[in-house]
């Protein structure tokens, strides 16, 4: 791997993630609009939102940690994107592996939590308390899924997993139950209904985001694009055979993101304890049954 | 060498003349006792050197064994004689005004020396009774109702114990026709049947009353709680051991049988468990120490049940250690005692006494590198070497007891180190010689920590020598008896 290739990966992997992620945001909003028989936002709406937020004249900050929180939230995902192999760009990703990646995915949450904490807004703190609880809820099935996949493919490297699937069958065929459990966890991970108690706009004023304005909010919008992209690509790599080129990978990723979105808007939301209860019951059960088959 | 008879005779004589002397000068009466004891100490020391690694028998009244009265002198008996003299000196009632008490102490010492030295059962019994009488007297000297009740209880159970002892001796006499221990040792086969062993059981339980053996030790807490601390130190530290000496003599010379060992092992274990359990609930320092003392006598019986010279040396070590520690603790109790709540903040009033207290109990618990640890270690290892279910159980019991003991001892220590109420002090402010002696004991304990190896070697020598029936027989019995045997 030469320096040029390295530079390219370092720059383009997050960039691609950002662009694709914006499209996923658009798709998400379109899906919800269509489900509600609306037209939905124009094509560039995600971009407009982000540019506008970054371009605000007033930006209030509650202190250095508030700033650092946003940097960590965005930066953590940028790091995660680099560790997430995509066709043609998998040099650095080999250094980490799926365990490292799943840890990287916790860093943005922690960063955001720090930033929100410094805002000294009780709504924000309540939101974070709920968000971390939700993380506890969805990470258990998620980690079961990661374990099952890694065991099945006999590798903790996503590249190895993709190679295995390219040679054999897709993971979703070989481990359907685990794939379903993964989808469940994904729903929680994306914080979509019915698992969006920590945002709860009407009760706690969007919780963690309550004091986020301007580029702070913009950072979170960027983070959302990364989040959707990561979820889509990660799931596609784990269960849908990844892709040899973006042409084969991206449709799968979009499909993966579209699925929870379509389900999401049909639900109200669960209380925090019910989120844990449901995520610890069904997907975990599915995961364990599936593991029993795999092991 | 025959002057050693004086060990017993001098205090006995002193006991009788002290009331007479007191008529003329109370000062003189007060000092008679200590002077006698000092003379005894000197005698013991000279005898210690003379005896060397051998043994010596003194025949009294011109009759040769197995008929006459015999004193058997070796390092074991001398060791105990020395301890008796020093302990009585330490607890001598300097501030008592009554000469009768001096007499009783002298009587007590005379009986104790007799117990340590005698080599036939009848004399042992006589001295044992004498000791009992002296103790009743001393306890009854306390002029309060609870002391009276305690001494009455002690009297009842102790006399019942004496009856058992006598019964045991009678059985032995019936079986063998002799009461000389050396003589008995030559005809053990007569005694190893059910009748003989039941005699041993009766003797053990009878003497066990004084040796704080379970279940005949219910007097302990009450008596120790009502008598002066020095006297408790004497009783718990020394007199209890003298009763054990009686048992040891019977056990090692005559009854080296598994059934006897098992008996001692079982009562020992029960003693340990019951003592520790009750001490655990105690809220009064003296009561706690009393029951702890019961438990440690239990450990002593367990050690004896190992048998032979190993058992003996461990037993001696335990006795010496317990004498130092429990004696020291009871002497400390002269400075502070009572309910735990009263002891709150003691360490702030007197850090030194708390520290001394701590040293004692740490050694009692067997914390390395204090001597208690080495004793416990050696005991447990020896038990393990014997193997067998009961011995393993004994190991478990001893170690469990240590845990319980830690719990209650440190419950007290914790109270001591709590912040004190400003106005009240738990300390007994008047000068107390006992406290000085307690510190001395602690110092001795610490010094012996450094000399664990030589001391243990010495004790093993003593035990090897004393636990050997052949030496005993050869020393005591005239040749013709041996000739018959061989």
């Amino acid at each position: 791997m030469n320096a040029l290739h390295l530079m390219a990966e370092l720059i383009f992997m997050p960039l691609i993630a950002f662009i694709v992620g914006m499209m996923m945001v658009l798709m998400m909003r379109k899906i919800s609009a269509r489900l509600q028989r609306r037209i939905g936002p124009p094509f560039f709406q995600p971009l407009y939102d982000i540019v506008k937020l970054y371009g605000k004249d007033t930006q209030i900050s509650h202190g250095l940690i508030h700033d650092i929180g946003i940097i960590m939230a965005v930066g953590g995902y940028i790091g995660a994107e680099i560790l997430l192999p995509v066709p043609g760009m998998e040099g650095i990703a080999a250094k980490g592996g799926v365990i490292t990646l799943s840890y990287f995915l916790m860093i943005p949450s922690l960063g955001m939590a720090l930033g929100v904490g410094q805002c000294a807004n009780p709504n924000g703190s309540i939101g974070i308390s709920r968000a971390l609880t939700a993380m506890l809820a969805y990470d258990i099935p998620f980690i079961l899924v990661v374990f099952g996949a890694a065991w099945h493919y006999q590798s903790t490297s996503l590249i190895g997993m993709i190679e295995y699937q390219q040679v054999h069958q897709w993971g979703i065929v070989e481990m359907p139950l685990l794939a379903i459990a993964g989808l469940f966890a994904l729903q929680g991970m994306l914080g979509k209904q019915p698992f969006e108690i920590y945002i709860a706009p009407a009760e706690i004023a969007t919780g963690p985001m309550v004091e986020m304005s301007g580029k702070y909010m913009g950072g979170l919008f960027v983070m959302q694009t990364f989040q959707l992209y990561t979820a889509g690509v990660l799931y596609a790599s784990l269960f849908l055979g990844g892709g040899t080129s973006f042409l084969t990978l991206l449709p799968k990723a979009f499909l993966v993101v579209a699925l929870p979105m379509s389900i999401a808007f049909m639900f109200p939301r669960y209380k925090t304890e019910d989120v844990i209860r449901i995520l610890w019951k069904w997907p975990v059960m599915l995961g364990l049954i599936s593991l029993a088959f795999i092991l | 060498m025959n002057s050693l008879v004086l060990l017993m005779v001098l205090p006995l004589f002193a006991a009788f003349i002290i009331p007479v002397v007191a008529k003329f000068s109370s000062k003189l009466a007060l000092f008679t006792g200590p002077v006698v004891l000092c003379i005894n100490l000197l005698l013991i020391m000279s005898a210690w050197v003379k005896v060397g690694s051998g043994a010596h028998a003194i025949f009294l009244g011109g009759f040769l064994p197995p008929v006459g009265i015999v004193f058997y002198i070796d390092h074991f008996s001398l060791l105990f004689s020395g301890l008796i003299a020093s302990m009585v000196l330490i607890v001598w009632p300097w501030d008592a005004k009554e000469s009768r008490l001096y007499s009783l102490y002298m009587l007590l010492s005379a009986a104790s020396f007799g117990l340590a030295l005698s080599a036939d059962l009848f004399n042992l019994y006589v001295f044992y009774e004498l000791l009992a009488v002296a103790t009743y007297g001393i306890i009854a000297k306390q002029k309060n109702s609870s002391a009276t009740a305690a001494s009455l209880r002690y009297l009842f159970i102790s006399s019942a114990g004496s009856v058992m002892l006598l019964l045991g001796i009678a059985i032995i006499y019936t079986l063998t026709g002799t009461l000389n221990i050396a003589h008995l040792a030559t005809m053990t086969e007569n005694l190893h049947g059910f009748a003989g062993l039941s005699a041993f059981a009766l003797i053990a339980i009878g003497a066990g009353v004084k040796a704080e053996m379970f279940p005949v030790n219910s007097w302990v807490a009450e008596v120790y709680g009502t008598i002066p601390r020095q006297l408790s130190a004497l009783l718990a530290g020394l007199i209890s051991k003298l009763a054990v000496v009686l048992i040891i003599k019977m056990l090692l010379m005559v009854f080296q049988v598994q059934a006897a060992f098992d008996l001692l092992l079982v009562v020992g274990m029960l003693g340990v468990i019951s003592g520790e359990m009750v001490a655990w609930r105690a809220k009064d320092m003296i009561r706690m120490l009393s029951f702890s003392s019961i438990a440690h006598l239990g450990v002593l019986f367990i050690a004896l049940s190992i048998g032979g010279s190993k058992g003996l040396w461990l037993a001696i070590a335990i006795m010496l250690h317990h004498l130092l520690v429990k004696g020291g603790l009871f002497l400390m109790a002269d400075r502070f005692s009572g309910h735990f709540d009263k002891l709150k903040g003691l360490a702030h009033h007197s850090p030194m006494s708390a520290a001394v207290f701590l040293v004692f109990i740490l050694s009692l618990l067997g914390v390395p590198p204090l001597p208690g640890f080495w004793i416990k270690m050696a005991l447990v290892m020896n038990l393990a070497e014997l193997g067998g279910g009961l011995y393993y159980l004994a190991i478990g019991v001893i170690l469990l007891a240590t845990i319980i003991e830690t719990a209650y001892m440190f419950n007290l220590v914790q109270t001591m180190y709590l912040k004190a109420d400003a106005d009240s002090t738990p300390l007994n402010k008047r000068y107390s010689a006992s406290y000085t002696f307690a510190k001395l004991f602690a110092l001795l304990l610490l010094v012996s920590m450094v000399f664990v190896s030589p001391i243990s070697k010495r004790l093993k020598d003593i035990a090897n020598h004393s636990a050997n029936p052949q030496i005993y027989i050869h020393t005591v019995l005239p040749a013709r008896y041996l000739g018959e045997k061989s």
């Binding site: 371009g55 605000k56 004249d57 007033t58 930006q59 209030i60 900050s61 509650h62 202190g63 946003i70 940097i71 965005v74 680099i82 980490g96 490292t100 840890y103 720090l114 904490g117 000294a120 807004n121 703190s125 308390s129 971390l132 609880t133 993380m135 374990f147 065991w151 903790t156 490297s157 309550v210 580029k215 913009g218 304890e273 844990i276 | 159970i157 058992m164 049947g193 059910f194 062993l197 279940p215 005949v216 219910s218 059934a259 008996l263 359990m277 655990w280 609930r281 390395p368 080495w374 270690m377 070497e385 469990l400 845990i403 319980i404 830690t406 440190f410 220590v413 709590l418 190896s453 243990s456």
Partner: protein, 629 residues
């Protein structure tokens, strides 16, 4: 004279020196120097950690026929260096203003210094043990030294918990003694090698008994389930730097002995041979470890006192160490061993930050703090690094060791243990966020407006420890050679390592890359943040959206109490206090028997007892000997 003799002599002289000068002002300057000196002695012995031979002491003792000698292996050295660094940091921490405040508050400062060196001395003695007897003696020393440290606090609770500790510790010591006795009884020897020899000769039930006894002994010290109850309160009540030291390393002596005795001499084969293939001793220990990671962590989540929260986490993290080592493979055991050092570094730093906050505000109650980040930014930084380490997130060192443990569980196909470990990590994240949020983030209280950063004497050790937390996370290769030597010396498979991490066929770890990527991400994030957006303006904390409500300083709105209500709503009912119940019921059973025996001693007719005793004794003899005899 070998280097080990020198080490013992130096440590002992330090003990004497500090005990002599402990009440003089000079002890502040002297103590760190002395710990530095011991550290230098250890560094001189460093060859042992790079594959060199173990050091033997030139002297030995022969007491009562038991031989004792001492040795220093890679394992000993590894634990010793952690001990000394923790001690040095604690000594520096307490040497300046903290010590002054402690003295003025009526604390016995000299005693604290003494307790620290006594602890170090006894730990070195334990680590240097060369046979079972010296191990036992060192073990008791360590127990009593910790006890000394714990009772220093004047509070009644501290004393009570210290007594509870010592009862537990004695139980452990007695279990160890029984185990030693079992070993000794076979061949009359107390050498370590006897363990495996004797173990092989034993019957199945004896093997179970031996392993359980050893494990109970060590588990009590380490606070593993179900013996975890003593630890947290006792450590939390220990005076500041003492708590940091104890929390960092003291209970890890249990880990040391587990590695030394169980791993080295009983080994995987030994553990597996006990029990059936489905549920053998290894499974049992692994599950004990897994439950230890979970239960104490979730108890920590409930705490609202910072020190207790940390202390409970200390208990929980012990589970990871055992979980790693019990896997017996190269990565798992490396993770378990490495976690000892990692945990020590961040736990000490975290305890120190809490003590620093207490130094300034006088409380560690998480409901009475908040918003201190502006007042104590460096302390905040240390706590941040510490909690990232504790939660096991990259790029701190806690991540590396946990990664190794996870990897090993994955390789060994242990999904349930894996989930248990993750459950522990997630609980830790929740709980440490609560810690940092309630202390440093959120609303600053009116009474804390004038709080300042702590003095340098306290900051330097904290920052130093956090540098260790970071550097060993960034370049685990600095530590891994030591781990490899330890593995070699105790006969485990040796890990293949390089500066950045480990090499492993099915996916290794290179922390330099991982951290590099992370920092690259942060860098890009910072670029985006600072150059793409408008300029931001700092606002006052009361300029805050509360649904149109006007916030004022007299209204507290810091969200701190019952921080995770949703979670507690669900799992709150699962906290049954079962172990507390167990402990209480043991005490109740004891009381029952105690009352029983007390009644015997109270009997109105003592002579009856005598007669019963005689009759029973005769009966027993009669049955024993038979009629004819």
């Amino acid at each position: 004279m070998t280097l080990l003799d020198h080490l013992f002599i130096v440590v002992f002289s330090c003990l004497i020196a500090i005990s002599v000068v402990r009440n003089l002002p000079i002890v502040d300057k002297l103590a760190p120097v002395l710990y530095g000196l011991i550290l230098i002695m250890l560094v001189r012995m460093a060859s042992v950690a790079y594959g060199g031979d173990a050091y033997l002491s030139s002297f030995s003792l022969d007491l009562l026929g038991f031989k004792m000698h001492w040795q220093f292996t890679a394992l000993s050295w590894y634990f010793a260096i952690i001990t000394l660094v923790a001690a040095l940091a604690s000594a520096v921490f307490m040497s300046g203003d903290w010590g002054r405040q402690y003295r003025e508050g009526g604390g016995n400062y000299g005693m604290l210094q003494l307790a620290l060196i006594v602890n170090v001395f006894s730990m070195i003695l334990l680590l240097g043990s060369g046979d079972l007897l010296s191990l036992f003696i060192g073990w008791e020393f360590v127990s009593w030294a910790s006890f000394l440290m714990m009772v220093l606090s004047p509070s009644k609770l501290a004393k009570k918990s210290a007594v509870k500790y010592i009862v537990y510790a004695m139980t452990g010591a007695m279990a160890l003694m029984v185990a030693i006795v079992m070993i000794y009884a076979v061949n009359d020897s107390l050498e370590f090698e006897q363990i495996s020899i004797v173990f092989a000769q034993m019957s199945g039930s004896s093997q179970v008994a031996l392993v359980l006894l050893l494990f109970v002994a060590f588990a009590i010290k380490m606070g593993l389930l179900p013996f975890h109850l003593w630890q947290a309160v006792a450590y939390a009540e220990t005076p500041g730097p003492g708590a940091a030291f104890l929390g960092a390393i003291s209970s890890r002596m249990g880990m040391f002995t587990i590695v030394l005795v169980i791993v080295q001499f009983i080994g995987l084969g030994g553990l597996k041979s006990v029990g059936t293939s489905f549920a053998n001793m290894q499974t049992l220990l692994a599950w004990v470890a897994a439950l230890t990671t979970i239960i104490p962590t979730y108890i920590a989540l409930q705490q609202h006192d910072a020190k207790r929260l940390l202390a409970w986490h200390g208990v929980g993290q012990g589970g990871y160490m055992l979980l790693g080592i019990i896997m017996f493979d190269s990565i798992g055991s490396a993770g378990g061993l490495m976690h000892v050092l990692n945990h020590a570094s961040y736990q000490a730093a975290l305890f120190m930050t809490v003590v620093a906050v207490m130094y300034r505000t006088g409380t560690s109650d998480l409901n009475k703090l908040g918003g201190l980040v502006t007042q104590m930014p460096l302390t905040f930084l240390v706590m941040l690094i510490g909690i990232i380490g504790l939660a096991g997130l990259p790029p701190m060192n806690g991540f590396v060791s946990k990664w190794l443990v996870y990897r090993s569980l994955l390789v060994n196909g242990q999904p349930l243990l894996f989930v248990a470990a993750v459950l522990g990590t997630l609980g830790t994240i929740l709980s440490v966020y609560k810690l940092i949020h309630n202390t440093f983030l959120g609303q600053l209280r009116l009474e804390h407006q004038n709080v300042r950063e702590v003095p340098w004497s306290m900051l330097v050790p904290m920052l130093g420890l956090s540098v260790i937390v970071f550097i060993t996370g960034f370049m685990p290769g600095l530590i891994l050679p030591w781990i490899a030597s330890v593995q070699e010396s105790v006969g485990l498979p040796v890990i293949a390592h390089h500066l950045g991490g480990i090499e492993y066929a099915k996916g290794g770890l290179d922390m330099i890359w991982v951290s590099g990527i992370l920092f690259y991400g942060f860098g890009v994030g910072a670029l985006i943040f600072y150059f793409l957006g408008g300029k931001s303006k700092r606002v006052h904390q009361y300029d805050n959206y509360a649904g149109g409500h006007f916030l004022t300083s007299d209204v507290r709105y810091h969200y701190s109490n019952n921080f995770y209500p949703g979670l507690m709503h669900l799992i709150g009912t699962w906290y049954r206090g079962s172990f507390q119940w167990l402990e209480n019921s043991i005490v109740s059973v004891m009381s029952f028997f105690s009352v029983f025996f007390e009644n015997i001693y109270r009997a109105k007719q003592p002579v009856m007892l005598l007669l019963i005793g005689v009759v029973l004794a005769l009966l027993a003899l009669y049955r024993n000997l038979g009629v004819g005899a």
